[in-house]
Each structure stands twice: as structure tokens, then as C-alpha cells.
């Protein structure tokens, strides 16, 4: 136990020194070209630190890997970040500092709040393309956020993928019904209206909507409401772990055979690690292959090799790591396309390059070629927890929304 604590402590201390250094520079490269900077407001502390640590590791490892491949068109890559504690004002301050000192071509934003807050400045500067932890539907509004994109499906599209899967399980005249359970936050409410509209289009009845506090203490009253409507499926959104576990355990204790599903941030392996056997059967929509999936591909293999090389003891890498790596992959693709076209690296040109991505092979990170639609990658797959194996297994084909 104490050895474990010390080990974790050492790892955190190592991270701390990285934070203190503030920058993770590219390895020295025999290249004369100007470095391309990936900036980042990264939540290494605060409420989102559980993911922020892995996001940071993913961006750091990708930077090391791309530099080992010769950088981007011969330009070395530098990753410059600051810890934000998941606070919008600190994220904004970090952006101003990094954009003032390092002129980042691309930037990782740690929250929807930050990405909305920084939009006017980003738009007026016009130098940087931004993506990050957010899958907010609002950010796919090209008018308001021309230099921001979503590294996967937005939350409404995730609901769309989930609902398509649910509809595919129905037989003629016997369409399953569904209940939405979401947190009383901007994050939680994001896909609900679009989700209800999509459900209506597919002929799925939304029999109940439950709103809870984000880390709700007790959900037994909400479970009692669900018992009365006996939904075939419950879709969670706006949570990481609790209260998903309590809903699942209590509803199963009541003898309900409801199936449970969640969106990206509710579909990490954390659910399996913490819930154990209770997690069995839980399903999530995930745009990327899991680190421990049986899928392969040149980029997925490179990711695994780099992860193993940078921290051999870390083992499984969570979805935050995969998401960060994919963000950096997209940035690289966009920068390459812009440079190849002989254009200047600015927001307009990079946004144009992003929009040109069509049938892009991600080397196994996503299982099918992907096409950008409205600054997002509307693709995903439904995965189900096999608690005995301790991992998610695919239960649907890849679903690419039009």
C-alpha cells in the first residue's frame, strides 16, 4: 500500500516538475526550420485532473513520436502547456501567455467554458486552430467558432450514434424506449434537445428525463421514478463515474432489465476498474479504439509503442490519452495540408485544410476512414463492458453520421 502511495507520489512529483518547467520541448533535432508549436491549457489539477494528467501524457508522447518521425514537413514540434486547474480564467491566462510567447499554430482547450470564452480573441488573432477536451455541440457552429473543431462526434452526434444503435435493436412495431439521465450542467444539458428530436425521428419514445447534480450523493428518488417507467435503455451524459454506478446497481436490485449507455467521458475504463462486476453490460459510444482493444493499425501500434516507451509501468492508457493523441494527429494533418498547399499557417487556412479532410485513414485510431463535417468527426462505435475480461468490446460496427 505505502509502496504504491510512494510510487504514485513519485509519478506525481515527476509531473509536478514537468508543470514547473511549463514546456515540454521537442528533442534536439538537426533541423533548421522554425518549430511548430502545439499549445495547451491543460487541467493537471482540479476537478478534471483525472483526465488532464492523461491528456498531458498523450500530447507529450505524440510530440516525442512525431519528432522521432522527422517532425511536420521537417519542422520540429514543441508542446507548450500550462496547468489551469480546470478554471476558465486560468485557461484564458495560459492561452494569452502561450500565444504571446510561442505563437502556437494549434491549441488544446481544456473545457467548453474556456473555448467559448476565448473564441472572440481567437477569432480576432486568426493565427491558431483550437480543439480540446470539449465535444460541445455549440462549438460546431462555424459562424461563431470558425477556428475551433471537435476531435470526434459532438455530444448531439454521440446521442445520434447511441440512438441509431438502440433503434437497430428494435423489431418492427416494438421499438425500445429510452430515458435520459444527465447532470445539471451546461455539459450535461448539451445534447438533450437534439437527442429528443433524433429519438422522435427514429420512433424511439423518451419515457423519462432525469436531471441530477454532477456528483449527486443520493439518486434513490430518481431511481424510483425510473422504476415506474421501466425504460429499455438509460442513456447517461455529463458524468464520469458517479452516479452511474448507483443507478445501475439500484435498478438491477429492483429487477429491471434496463440497459445502460453513456457518452465519451462516461465510457472510460475507470467505470470497469471502480465498479468491477457491476459494470458488466454497460455500453458507451467511443470514436476511438480503446488502448487495449484487439484492433490494430500503424498509428495505433505507434501510439502503443510510444506509450510503452515513455512509461513502461503505466500499462493501460485511458480515453483521455487516446483523445489527446488524436487531437495532435489532426493538428499534424491540418498543418501538413496547409504547408503542402504553400499557404501561411493561420486560422483561415488551417480551418480550410481541416474542412478538406475526407475519407482520412487514421491508422487504426478510428476503425474506418473519416470525413470532417461541420468541424467535427461524426463517427463512433458502441462498446460494451465485459467485466470478466476487464475491458470494452465492440457491439456495433463503426457508425459514421452524414
Amino acid at each position: 500500500m505505502f509502496r504504491n502511495i510512494l510510487k504514485k507520489g513519485r509519478r506525481l512529483a515527476g509531473l509536478g516538475s514537468l508543470v514547473a518547467a511549463l514546456t515540454v520541448a521537442a528533442p534536439t533535432m538537426a533541423q533548421d526550420k522554425e518549430p511548430i508549436v502545439f499549445g495547451g491549457s491543460i487541467p493537471l489539477s482540479g476537478v478534471f485532473a483525472f483526465a488532464g494528467i492523461h491528456i498531458h501524457a498523450g500530447l507529450t508522447d505524440y510530440t516525442s513520436w512525431i519528432n522521432s518521425q522527422g517532425g511536420i514537413n521537417g519542422h520540429p514540434v514543441e508542446y507548450v502547456m500550462e496547468d489551469t486547474a480546470y478554471e476558465v480564467d486560468r485557461s484564458v491566462a495560459a492561452f494569452k501567455k502561450i500565444s504571446g510567447s510561442s505563437s502556437p499554430a494549434t491549441y488544446y482547450g481544456d473545457s467548453t467554458g474556456f473555448m467559448k470564452a476565448i473564441a472572440s480573441e481567437l477569432n480576432s488573432q486568426g493565427n491558431t486552430l483550437m480543439s480540446g477536451a470539449s465535444f460541445a455541440t455549440a462549438l460546431t457552429d462555424n459562424e461563431a467558432y470558425p477556428y475551433q473543431f471537435i476531435p470526434g462526434p459532438n455530444y448531439s452526434q454521440m446521442f445520434g450514434i447511441i440512438l441509431e444503435y438502440i433503434a437497430s435493436q428494435g423489431k418492427d412495431g416494438d421499438m425500445p424506449n429510452v430515458a435520459f439521465v444527465y447532470s445539471d450542467t451546461e455539459f450535461g444539458k448539451d445534447p438533450i434537445e437534439n437527442g429528443k428530436a433524433r429519438a422522435a425521428e427514429l420512433g424511439i419514445e423518451v419515457v423519462e428525463e432525469i436531471v441530477t447534480k454532477p456528483g449527486s450523493v443520493d439518486v434513490s428518488a430518481e431511481v424510483l421514478k425510473l422504476r415506474r417507467v421501466r425504460p429499455d435503455y438509460v442513456v447517461f451524459h455529463g458524468y464520469v463515474l458517479s452516479p452511474i454506478n448507483e443507478f445501475m446497481v439500484q435498478m438491477r436490485q429492483m429487477g429491471l432489465d434496463t440497459q445502460f449507455m453513456g457518452t465519451f467521458w462516461s465510457s472510460d475504463k475507470l467505470i470497469i476498474d471502480k465498479m468491477g462486476a457491476d459494470a458488466d453490460g454497460y455500453m458507451g459510444v467511443m470514436p476511438y479504439n480503446y488502448y487495449d482493444s484487439e484492433e490494430g493499425g500503424p498509428m495505433l501500434d505507434a501510439l502503443r509503442a510510444q506509450a510503452e516507451k515513455s512509461d513502461p509501468e503505466a500499462g493501460y492508457r485511458p480515453t483521455g490519452y487516446m483523445q489527446a493523441w488524436f487531437n495532435a494527429m489532426v493538428w499534424t494533418e491540418v498543418v501538413e495540408r496547409t504547408l503542402d498547399a504553400g499557404k501561411e499557417l493561420n486560422g483561415d487556412n488551417m480551418a480550410e485544410a481541416l474542412a478538406s479532410i475526407e475519407d482520412w485513414d487514421t491508422g487504426g485510431i478510428i476503425g474506418i476512414p473519416v470525413t470532417v463535417r461541420d468541424m467535427s468527426f461524426p463517427v463512433g462505435r458502441i462498446w460494451r463492458v465485459n467485466a470478466e475480461e476487464g475491458r470494452y468490446e465492440p457491439v456495433s460496427d463503426w457508425i459514421h453520421l452524414d
Binding site: 502511495i5 504514485k8 507520489g9 489539477s45 445539471d184 436531471v211 434513490s220 430518481e222 465498479m275
Partner: protein
């Protein structure tokens, strides 16, 4: 009106309110004896819950050994905080003391993030999982057994404060520190005892609440939401903490069930506003008259 549904959610609310009452008791005992509003009570709860996780999860002890160890650990933490950080503040402005408790809360959050990382956690299951039925009314087992365990501690506390020498010393100090001191009561020891007992109640509540709702370094925020309970009941009233705890738990749950989860907090704050207008010192708090 579905009376069965109303009965079930009322029962769930009352049981949850019992746990709120236990946390509120932690606030009140400390305030009553020392006049310090302890804003770190939620983090003490959190720390005890992490201790339980370490003992029952990491060290794989029996939960029934880990539970008292964690609760004792939390109460020792309270005692140490009082002796090392609060006592030197005696005589200082109440705002300064409050700021110290806020600082302690921050330190405890940093400490648990350092030791246990920022990952959300679930405590090992230690409460029975069979559904509990009272007549036809269903009650979630964790809430039911959590309420039972919390109630046992509440009864022990009430008996202790009513009949024991320590309890009488605490009540005497709360009534008049100077008179208690002149009667030979070791007031400093009473202060320390209040922090130990207050933290003990909060620690038990911390483990029971975390067993239901999960645990993370942000868990301590629950302590602040229970501040509403304490203000409604009266900052210096044990009876107020118990009554208001149960009432607010019931109100939150019923409001959540009938109006939607987003109305839980507005409902409780509405009650708080009304109570503050009618009885600014809380339902059962002492109405202090200051003569100048």
C-alpha cells in the same frame, strides 16, 4: 397522486436527511463549543472516506475494522487541526479563523490528490445489497443501512452530551466560557474535545455518504451544502441540526422527484431565505441580544 411513490421518495429523503443531520452535528458541536465555523468539515469527511478506501481497499482489511479506523483517523485529524492551527488563533478575528479553516480544506484536497490521485473512486461495498422494504415502500439498501448506522452514533452522542461529565463540560463551556473556566473546567481541553467529536460525526457521515455517492477530491463540497441545514436549524443547536437535517433531506428529495433535479438546491435555498427572514438565528438557535 401516487401515494406509494410519495411514500417511497419521502422515506428516501428522510433517510438521506439523517446523514445530513450527522454532518450538521459535526458543524454544530464545534461551533457550539468554540464559536468557530469549520469550513473544512467537508474535507475532514473526505479524508476519512479516503482513509476507509485505503484500509478496506488498499490494505484489504475487513470493512468493519476499516470503518472505525477511518472514523477514528478523521477525529484525530480534527483534534490535531484544533491543537496546531485553530488554538493559536484564539482571540483573533472570527474572519481570520474562518480563513484558516478554508486553508485547511485546500491543504486536505491537495493531500488526497497527492496520495490517491484525482481519479474518482468508489468505496468497497460493505453494506448489505438486498433491497429494503418497509411495508410496501422500497428503500435503497445503502441509504437504509447508512441511516441506521448514523442513527446509532446520533443516539450515543445525545446520551453522552446529556449524561456524561465530558458532555456536561462541553455544554457548560458552550453556555459561558468564563463561568466554566472558573468552575475548574479545562476549557482548552473542551475545545479540543469538540473538534474531535465534531470530526468523528463528520467522518462517519463521510464514509457513509461516499459509500453511496462515490468519492473524489471534490467530495468536501457536500460539507458546504450542509451549511444550509445548520443555518436553518440554528448554528448552535444540536436539536436544530437533527430536525433541519432530516427536513432538508426530505425537501431536497421531494423537490427533485416532483420538480426535477435542477430544483433541489433552489428549494432548499428558498427555505433558507424564508427562515433567515423569520428567525435569523435559525429554527432552534440562540437568539443573542447584544447590549451596547
Amino acid at each position: 397522486m401516487d401515494w406509494l411513490f410519495f411514500g417511497e421518495i419521502s422515506l428516501a429523503g428522510l433517510a438521506m436527511g439523517g446523514l445530513y443531520a450527522l454532518i450538521a452535528l459535526g458543524f454544530v458541536i464545534i461551533y457550539k463549543a468554540t464559536r468557530v465555523i469549520n469550513f473544512a468539515i467537508g474535507e475532514i469527511m473526505m479524508f476519512a472516506a479516503y482513509l476507509f478506501l485505503a484500509f478496506a481497499g488498499g490494505m484489504e482489511m475487513s470493512p468493519w475494522i476499516a470503518l472505525p479506523l477511518a472514523v477514528i483517523g478523521g477525529s484525530i485529524l480534527g483534534g490535531v487541526i484544533e491543537k496546531t492551527m485553530i488554538r493559536p488563533m484564539l482571540g483573533e478575528s472570527p474572519i481570520s479563523v474562518v480563513m484558516v479553516t478554508i486553508g485547511i480544506a485546500s491543504i486536505l484536497v491537495g493531500l488526497v490528490e497527492f496520495i490517491w490521485t484525482a481519479d474518482p473512486q468508489l468505496l468497497p461495498n460493505f453494506l448489505p445489497r438486498e433491497p429494503v422494504f418497509i411495508g410496501e415502500l422500497y428503500l435503497a439498501p445503502k441509504i437504509a443501512y447508512g441511516f441506521l448506522i448514523g442513527s446509532v452514533l446520533l443516539v450515543i452522542y445525545l446520551l453522552y452530551f446529556r449524561f456524561s461529565r465530558g458532555g456536561v463540560a462541553l455544554r457548560a463551556t458552550a453556555s459561558d466560557q468564563a463561568a466554566a473556566y472558573s468552575m475548574g473546567i479545562n476549557v482548552r481541553r473542551v475545545f479540543n474535545m469538540a473538534w474531535v467529536f465534531g470530526s468523528l460525526a463528520a467522518s462517519l457521515a463521510g464514509v457513509l455518504v461516499a459509500a453511496t455517492g462515490g468519492l473524489s477530491p471534490q467530495f468536501g463540497i457536500i460539507g458546504l451544502s450542509v451549511l444550509v441545514v445548520v443555518i436553518v436549524g440554528g448554528l448552535d443547536s444540536i436539536l436544530g441540526a437533527l430536525v433541519a437535517g432530516v427536513f432538508i433531506g426530505w425537501l431536497e428529495t421531494v423537490a427533485g422527484a416532483y420538480l426535477g433535479g435542477e430544483y433541489r438546491m433552489p428549494a432548499t435555498f428558498l427555505v433558507l431565505a424564508v427562515i433567515l427572514v423569520i428567525r435569523p438565528y435559525g429554527l432552534f438557535g440562540t437568539h443573542e441580544i447584544e447590549r451596547v
